[in-house]
Each structure stands twice: as structure tokens, then as C-alpha cells.
Amino acid sequence: MLEVRGLKLAFGGVQAIDGLDFTVPDGTVTALIGANGAGKTSVLNVLSRFYQPQAGTVVYNGTDLLRLRAHKLVHAGVGRSFQNVALFQELPVLDNLLVGADHLGRTGLLRNTLRTPGARRHERRARERAERVMEFLEITDLRHRRAGDLSFGDRKLVDMGRALTSGPSLLLLDEPASGMAESQRDWLGQVIRRIPDEFGASVLLIDHDMGLVLGVSASVVVMDFGRKIAEGDPDAVRRDERVIAAYLGED
């Protein structure tokens, strides 16, 4: 379980996150929603250690995430995707996913150069993982394409696939549906809903698309101006007046 308590983050004078509490239970999809600038991506960037908050705690299964360096998070079971897609764009899709699995390998420079059995074993396992994820996301046919050449929608899938291949127990998804066609979003919703069962990971989902979010999540946290204004199951949130005023009313 991920527990966020009293989180505060300011850039200069701007209070991006202002005392936020929420939890992500294991084995579920939890959504974090809010209008543009509500502070959603800032939360994700705190969770993945790109920003250092001024106050608050972030504890995942007993580990204080705020004590870890960014590259240690994945070892603690936290994987993430990026809103603007930060793929390794010169590499083929398969290699992007393999990098996701690479933190599981234990072979160093020398054994890799000599291709020892241990190094080969890691390659094999990483490939198996990557193939499974590509099949799950239906991007197997993109395997050898250079990531930078793909459409934005496909790149979002590869980004998500890379995070999945890292074998997270908590997956942070930053607007996975942005830039996708309407029909593709429904399909993506189905896919995200299956992640807890297929990969044993809980999901923290950030998105604008209310249809996607409410259809997929077990619980929803609504943010506005850096604060939580509502929390509960999708139906309760849909009826919440403050949410309607702050967010749904705009649509």
C-alpha cells in the first residue's frame, strides 16, 4: 500500500501541492484527477523523486520513498510512465522495454562483454518479460521499429510497456490516454483494468479523461489547486458537488 501524508511542494511562491493525503491500496486501480494545473503531475514527480517536497511523507509497503534516490525506486517496486513520453527514441521498441527489465539483471561490465551464461540468462528473461508485455499491449508488431518514429499514441503505449516490463508492484501512469483516438481509449481502459490481475501491480492513474478514469478505477482522488477536494468510489465522486463545481462543471 502507498500512503501519502501531508505532502507539500512549492515552486518559488507557487504552492503546487498543499497538504495532500491519499492512499493506493494493493491490487487496485486508484485515480488522481483534477483540472490542468491542479498539481497531479507534481504529485507523480514527487513520488518518482524528481521533486523534493517541503513537507510530508510517502511510504510504500514500509519503505520511506523520500529517502531513496530516483534510480532506486524501481527496485522498491515503483514504475512510472511519462506524460510527454520520455522514450529512448533512438532505440527500437523492444530495447526500450528491455531497459525496463534491466534493473533485474546482476551481471556487470565484464560478464556482459564476455556474454557469460549469467548474462545470457538475463537477456533471455528480459526478452520473455518484454514479449509478454508487448503482447498484452498489442504492440508486438512494433518490436523492431525505432521508438522515435512511432505515432504519439503508440509511443504512449511503449512508455507504459517499458514501465510494466520493469515489474512494478505499483505503477504510476501519467495521462496514458492523452493523444489517443476515442476508440483506442476504451480499449486502453480495459487494458489498465486488467493490470492488477495480470501483473500483480496496483495502479495510480492520472488523467483528464473522466470517462476513462471513472470506468477503470476502484477509487478516485480529486485535486484542485494542490489540495484534495474529494475522495471515494467513482459514483460518489461523480455526485460530489465540489467536484462538479471545480472540475466536471467545466466539461
Binding site: 534510480h71 528491455l98 531497459v99 562483454t113 512494433l142
Partner: protein, 344 residues
């Protein structure tokens, strides 16, 4: 529903066969060259120079092309390798060649590690200046550290030996360099296909995403500098044997630039590209020595022309041609369907 139809470019198997055919051809030519031109010591020496420069270019390509770092001082690392080999061979004349090579490589690797340390903070122009400093400083240190380097005169490089076999003739040196370079390229190629190599490229493409995938960015960069230096050191040792002499004047700043030009002209992040780039520039340089004054014009002209015509370097030529061909094919298909539509 699966996202819209996504075509996979065909011909991967064909491309792979072509690749292996090319590697095979290079090896066969490499092995047979001295058999044909063995009497022509000048030709053999030029060929050896091509081989050694190719290895050093590849070592720099690791850094620049695969790692996305910049270096204007690779000749400094080459110098360290060359001096290390020459020095140890002077002290222990009967030292087996592999030990000498390892000594040169390890010493250069240490220099590379030190050079890699500030890369966590420095990039772009700043890194360019730091590496430039190394490239400028090493020959000056070599010039003044006379007790080890023998100052301006430099060190005579004794022939390498394995057991009682001295590798002194141009043909012997050729084969020595050829074998060492082939083994190095194989090692680099396999390293690049593993998690270490992927980490280099991941850091190059996005440091943030690399960190999110569990890659220690700073350590990866230092490793990259060390690996690049390791092979530059090997190249430096061979360089010494090729010249029979290591002297401060043999490693000017322009040599670093020569290697960088070979990387870019050949195509960054391409091993065959580096080989071709190095050979092209060595030939452009050596074939014009009979026309005094024309070397810089020819070398500079080649660099400017290649980069103006093919910005991706020579390695990008097949891909560019392929794209042109497929575009033509598509155009033909479209006109074909138009024609049939008109017939209806």
C-alpha cells in the same frame, strides 16, 4: 481493439544476411591483404594505420555516438596508452604482448575514470572544454616528464613479442593490429547488446527516463568514459607499435579532432560507420601527401561535403536509400491503382 494498422518494414532477414556478408568480406580482405600486398611495406603500413585508427574511432564513438557525451581529447587517452606500452616494454623488454596491452589499457582506463568523474555536472560545451583540456595537457605533460617520457625525443617502441616471436615486420604488426582490433570490436559489439550497452544509450536518449528505469545515470556515464578509455588505450598501444615511436608531437589536438571527424563522417552510433569513416579520412590524408598543401583541403572538403549531403554520416546511406526506394515504390503503387481505377 488493437490500435490502427501498423506495418512492419520487411527485409530484416535480408538486412541481417547483408550485414554478415559485409563482416565476412571485411575479415577476408583483412586476412588476405598482406598476402597480396605483403611486399609493398608502404601499403601495409597505411592499411595498419586504417585498422588502428578504426579502433580508436570506435572507442570515441562509444562515448559520442552511443553515450551522447562529447570529447575533444581522445588523442590524450591514446597518448597515455601509447606511452604506457612503450614505457613498460622499455623496462621489461621480453614482456609478452598481451600483458603489455593490458597494462596500457588499464592505465588509460584509470585516466578515463578520472575524466568521467565531473560528467555528472558538466555537459555540452563545458564537457567539450574539459576534454579539450585533457587532450592539450597530456602531450605537454609528456614533453616535460622527461624521466619517464624522454621529453621531446620520445620513446622508441620496442617490437612486441609473444614468447620468442618478435612482431617487428610491417606484416607482423599488421596482423597484430588486425587481430586485436577484431577482438576489441567483437567485445564492444557484444557489450552494446547487453544491459550495460542499453544503459549507455538510455542515458543518452533520456536521463530522466533512464533513472526511472533504475539506471544510475552518473555511474553509467563514468563507466562509459572508462570503457571508451580502455579501448582508446589499446588503440594507443597499437599506435605506438605502428609508429615505432611515441613522442609528444604525435598526439596534437588536431588528432583528437581527426577521430571526432571520423566518428561523425562515418555516422554516430554505428560500428561499421566508424570503420568506414576512419579508413576514408586516413586515405584522404595519406593519399594527398604527394600534393603538399592539399591534405587539409582534401580532408576538410571530405568532412564538409559528407555532412552537407548526408547529415547522418556514411552509415546513414543504406537507410536513406531504402527510404527513397520505398517512397518510390509507394508512388508507383499509387499511380498503378489510379490507372486501374481509370480503367473501370
Amino acid at each position: 481493439m488493437s490500435p490502427a494498422s501498423r506495418t512492419v518494414p520487411g527485409g530484416r532477414a535480408a538486412a541481417r544476411i547483408a550485414q554478415w556478408a559485409m563482416v565476412g568480406a571485411v575479415v577476408v580482405i583483412g586476412v588476405l591483404f598482406p598476402q597480396v600486398y605483403g611486399q609493398d611495406f608502404y601499403a601495409v603500413t597505411i592499411a595498419t594505420e586504417c585498422i588502428v585508427y578504426a579502433l580508436i574511432t570506435i572507442s570515441l564513438n562509444l562515448l559520442v555516438g552511443y553515450g551522447g557525451q562529447i570529447s575533444l581529447g581522445q588523442a590524450g587517452l591514446v597518448a597515455i596508452g601509447g606511452y604506457a606500452g612503450a614505457y613498460i616494454l622499455e623496462k621489461v623488454p621480453s614482456l609478452p604482448f598481451p600483458v603489455e596491452l593490458a597494462f596500457a589499457a588499464v592505465l588509460t582506463t584509470i585516466a578515463g575514470l578520472i575524466l568521467g568523474l565531473p560528467t555528472g555536472r558538466l555537459r555540452g560545451h563545458y564537457l567539450a572544454v574539459v576534454t579539450l583540456g585533457l587532450g592539450v595537457a597530456i602531450p605537454q605533460i609528456a614533453l616535460n616528464l622527461t624521466s619517464i617520457t624522454n621529453g621531446r625525443t620520445g620513446l622508441i617502441v620496442n617490437p612486441a613479442s609473444i614468447g620468442s616471436l618478435a612482431l617487428a615486420s610491417p606484416v607482423a604488426i599488421y596482423y597484430m593490429c588486425f587481430v586485436v582490433t577484431c577482438l576489441s570490436v567483437i567485445a564492444i559489439h557484444s557489450l552494446l547488446k547487453t544491459r550495460t550497452g542499453r544503459a549507455f544509450m538510455a542515458v543518452r536518449d533520456s536521463e530522466q527516463a533512464a533513472a526511472a528505469m533504475g539506471i544510475n545515470v552518473q555511474r553509467t556515464k563514468i563507466t562509459l568514459f572508462a570503457v571508451s578509455a580502455f579501448f582508446a588505450g589499446i588503440g594507443g598501444d597499437l599506435f605506438g607499435h605502428l609508429q615505432n615511436l611515441v613522442a609528444p608531437g604525435a598526439f596534437p589536438f588536431s588528432l583528437s579532432l581527426f577521430f571526432l571527424a571520423a566518428v561523425i563522417v562515418g555516422g554516430s552510433a554505428s560500428l561499421p560507420g566508424s570503420v568506414i569513416g576512419a579508413i576514408l579520412l586516413v586515405l584522404a590524408d595519406t593519399q594527398t601527401t604527394s600534393l603538399p598543401g592539399f591534405e587539409p583541403v582534401v580532408v576538410g572538403g571530405v568532412v564538409v561535403l559528407v555532412l552537407l549531403i548526408i547529415p547522418g554520416g556514411l552509415a546513414a546511406v543504406p537507410a536513406t536509400l531504402m527510404r527513397l526506394r520505398s517512397r518510390q515504390g509507394r508512388r508507383r503503387a499509387r499511380t498503378g491503382s489510379l490507372a486501374s481505377g481509370a480503367g473501370d
